[in-house]
């Protein structure tokens, strides 16, 4: 049992890391996109012509899910799982990969939800001041910075593991 764990534990942890990196940011993005969509639907029921503007607002919290996906792909690629020539991964290395995906996993989830709230509030700007809708987009994009930073941190960590 211990032998098995020593031999395969690392690989399992890498799979676990790959899974959470896509699950949590993806979940956050889904929640976020849904939240903005509800706010946007209210506006569109009154004024369908603003569709393109609110669509951008809705799409903004969707990127975290992509960042999580990107992390997972690069992780699977780095460990050779994707290409099929997977070398055995020992336990400590597996744990390193797990920690490496934490930034985007955690920040990805929360930043998506928070960004969605900002975006949903931005829908009000589009409603009342359509010509200032870019400002609503910028407000929401401010939140995303931290998802970008955590994505880069995760990637740097993954690629620094020898």
């Amino acid at each position: 049992m211990v032998d098995l764990l020593m031999e395969w534990g690392g690989t399992l942890i890498v799979f676990f890391a790959a899974a959470i990196a896509v699950v949590f940011p993806g979940f956050g993005s889904a929640r976020g996109v849904g939240l903005v969509g509800q706010a946007a639907a209210g506006l569109i029921s009154e004024d369908p012509s603003k569709f393109s503007k609110v669509l951008i607002l809705q799409a903004l919290p969707g990127t975290q899910g992509l960042y999580g996906f990107l992390t997972t792909i690069l992780l699977l690629n780095k460990t050779g799982i994707l290409s099929g020539d997977m070398a055995p991964i020992d336990l400590s290395m597996g744990l390193k990969y797990l920690f490496a995906v934490l930034p985007i996993t955690v920040v990805g989830y929360f930043s998506a939800v928070i960004q969605a709230k900002t975006s949903a509030a931005g829908v009000a700007i589009v409603t009342k001041q359509p010509e200032d809708s870019t400002k609503a987009i910028i407000f929401a994009a401010m939140v995303e910075t931290y998802a970008v930073i955590s994505l880069l941190s995760s990637l740097l960590m993954i690629f620094s593991i020898e």
Partner: protein, 663 residues
């Protein structure tokens, strides 16, 4: 690359020429009129007229909408892209002559629409009434009937299910002495029984009170005739209403060819409304009219020539005072001008600001490309936009936006080639999975996945250039206003400090030559001293100077670090396009059979890259904008001005040939 020089214009003319001169100004579309409130001048109140125009506009708009709805002519994308129809002035004048007639057509259409709506409402009412009468159809006497000869008749409903026996039994229980009673059930279900009760007049009162205690009620809307007749009348009415509506619809459809004229009317009314709104701003005495406004100097000169040629006027072009709230107008070379929209989204420049359009354009194109970073996607943008711009006569803002995305596309192609991303790694995927060939090198500069840190440091480098450019513009502006020390203080200390810190910062990520690492501390020291020495130059006391100097140092360090890190998004978004594109390609070749693989790859390729392009377009658009608004502009740009809003011919559907000449 510039804000145009603005001037105030003042035109004095005789009242009789006023109208024509305002027409010329409106057609030129370069003057923002202004109300001066000068003593001794009187001003017209045209609010009644403009509200009248508003009313007519509403009528024409309703008619236009109705025609669109009933004639089923959806506006095609081609028509939308093609913009407004051109009219010569002669055609315009000819059409204005018919405006009143077209307006009556609009009224007529609206009247028909109103009737159609009324009829539709009545149809619904008829249906409701019919539904109410339907259960009574078997009843062959009027439901309002109370007596037939000596018999008392009760038509109504019980709130319970009964059959004839049931009713008679219940009645016998409550009113045992009322013998001469009969009942007929029209219909019944679980909660309701419709019935007719007949009793002899001798026991009518008893029966009635018995019925009441059983919860019997008469129908709320009793009929004078047997229900059948009312039902027939309702059905006939419904048919008639539908017929009428079909007729009205046909009549409206027959008017569909007048849609163009109605569109013209809309434009015409708008032009007149704008003009009358403008007339409010004109001052006048009994003989003279005074037109004041702002215009770009060169436009003012041209307008002066044009008006003076035709009318005896006093046209003066005045340099505005410093404290005047002068609107701005931007003019840029064609390569840069699309970014005027971006600047406008932030804020118009004020008097002291430099027009940031050219810088914004350059950096925007550059950063957009770095973030979309796939040559294939860039090619799609470039080709699609070229075709659209060539084939359609797109106007104004949309045209400018498309031009902006064209240049962004060019930049994307360049970046994609540098990073070696052509629809991801499609070339190598096809080589490998269809021909068994080894992958080839696609990138011209670097494959970002192989040198994450190197590319990231480069991105920080681009950010440094962007930010330094911001400081440089600020310095240039101060230099222009003869504040040489200010210009020095705003640029050199920051440059020295940041460049001094750069080797240490970069050393965290990549190898930096020893030489730079060695001089770094000295440069930092010199830079820091310079920043402290100059940062407090506006404070009066020594303590204040040092205090604000230290604060400036903190600001530069913290601010710069945050700003620079922000540029890491160039790498992150660039990576995400390329990697996801490669994943799409990989999914396309997941089956073994060659034919199936070709089919799968084609489908996955089109759908996958389409979606990836859309998502990353939004990302690149937003984040390139953010780098301008949040990182770049605060370094030098005040904003808060306003753009010139000229009195012009604001039309939706038609334009004049003249306008084409003007630009």
């Amino acid at each position: 690359m510039a804000k145009l020089k603005m001037s105030r214009i003042e035109i004095l003319s005789s009242i009789s020429d006023g109208q024509s001169i305002v027409n010329i100004i409106q057609r030129a579309g370069v003057v923002e009129l202004m109300k001066t409130e000068t003593e001794g001048l009187s001003y017209l109140d045209t609010s009644v007229t403009t509200s009248q125009f508003d009313k007519y506009l509403a009528v024409a708009q309703d008619a236009n909408k109705a025609l669109a709805k009933y004639s089923n002519t959806k506006q095609s994308v081609t028509a939308m892209l093609n913009g407004r129809t051109e009219l010569t002035v002669a055609e315009f004048l000819k059409r204005t002559a018919e405006a009143d007639l077209v307006l009556t057509v609009c009224f007529e259409i609206n009247k028909k629409i109103k009737k159609i709506e009324d009829n539709a409402a009545e149809t619904i009412r008829c249906h409701t009434s019919y539904d109410q009468i339907k259960p009574w159809l078997q009843c062959d006497i009027p439901t309002s009937c109370t007596r037939i000869g000596k018999q008392f008749v009760f038509v109504g409903v019980f709130p319970k299910e009964y059959d004839r026996e049931g009713i008679l039994v219940e009645l016998a229980k409550i009113a045992p002495r009322a013998a001469a009673v009969d009942a007929e059930v029209i219909n019944s279900d679980k909660s309701i029984t419709r019935a007719v009760i007949i009793s002899h007049s001798c026991c009518a009162a008893e029966v009635e009170s018995a019925l009441r205690s059983l919860g019997f009620t008469r129908p709320s809307d009793p009929t004078k005739h047997p229900p059948e007749i009312r039902a027939k009348r309702l059905l006939d009415r419904i048919v008639q209403l539908e017929q009428e509506n079909a007729e009205y619809t046909e009549e409206i459809k027959a008017l569909a060819q007048r849609r163009e004229e109605i569109k013209f009317l809309l434009d015409y009314l708008n032009i007149r409304k704008e003009k009358y709104k403008a007339i409010e701003k004109l001052g006048m005495t009994s003989n003279v009219i005074v037109i004041t406004g702002y215009a770009a100097y060169k436009d003012a000169l041209r307008l002066k020539k044009q008006i003076e040629r035709e009318y005896p006027v006093e046209f003066s072009i005045i340099e505005p005072d410093r404290d005047e709230d002068v609107p701005v107008k931007l003019e840029n070379k064609r390569f840069f001008s699309p970014a005027e929209n971006l600047v406008g989204m932030y804020s118009a420049p004020t008097g002291g600001d430099l027009d940031p359009t050219a810088f914004t354009a350059l950096f925007y194109y550059f950063f957009f490309g770095a973030m979309l970073s796939d040559a294939g996607y860039g090619l799609i943008m470039v080709i699609a936009i070229s075709i659209i711009l060539k084939k359609f006569k797109i106007e104004h803002k949309l045209r400018e936006s498309l031009k902006m995305f064209f240049w962004c596309g060019v930049s994307t192609v360049i970046w994609g080639a540098l990073y070696g991303s052509w629809f991801g790694d499609i070339i190598n995927v096809v080589r490998e999975s269809f021909f068994g060939l080894p992958p080839v090198r696609l990138y011209l500069w670097v494959d970002p996945l192989n040198d994450l840190l190197g590319v990231m440091v480069c991105c920080f480098g681009f950010g440094l250039v962007h930010l330094f450019a911001g400081y440089a513009i600020k310095g240039y502006m101060l230099l222009k206003s003869k504040d040489i020390f200010g210009a020095f203080a705003e640029t050199i200390p920051v440059y020295v400090l940041v460049l001094g810190a750069a080797p240490i910062f970069c050393g965290l990520f990549i190898e930096v030559p020893e030489f730079f690492k060695n001089i770094s501390p000295y440069a930092i020291a010199v830079g820091a001293i310079l920043v402290i020495a100059t940062g407090g130059r506006e404070s009066k006391t020594i303590v204040g100077k040092i205090g604000s100097g230290l604060y400036a140092l903190y600001n530069v360090l913290a601010g710069f670090l945050g700003d620079i890190l922000s540029y890491s998004r160039l790498l992150a978004l660039g990576l995400s396009t390329g990697v996801i594109a490669s994943v799409i390609n990989m999914m396309g070749v997941m089956v073994d059979n060659v034919v199936a693989r070709i089919i799968l790859l084609s489908v996955v390729f089109v759908l996958g890259h389409g979606a990836n392009l859309l998502i990353n377009l939004i990302g690149a658009y937003v984040h390139a904008l953010r780098l301008q608004f949040v990182e770049f502009f605060p370094k030098f740009y005040e904003g808060g001005g306003r753009f010139l809003k000229p009195l012009e011919i604001k039309t939706q559907f038609f334009k004049f040939k003249e306008e084409v000449l003007n630009g």
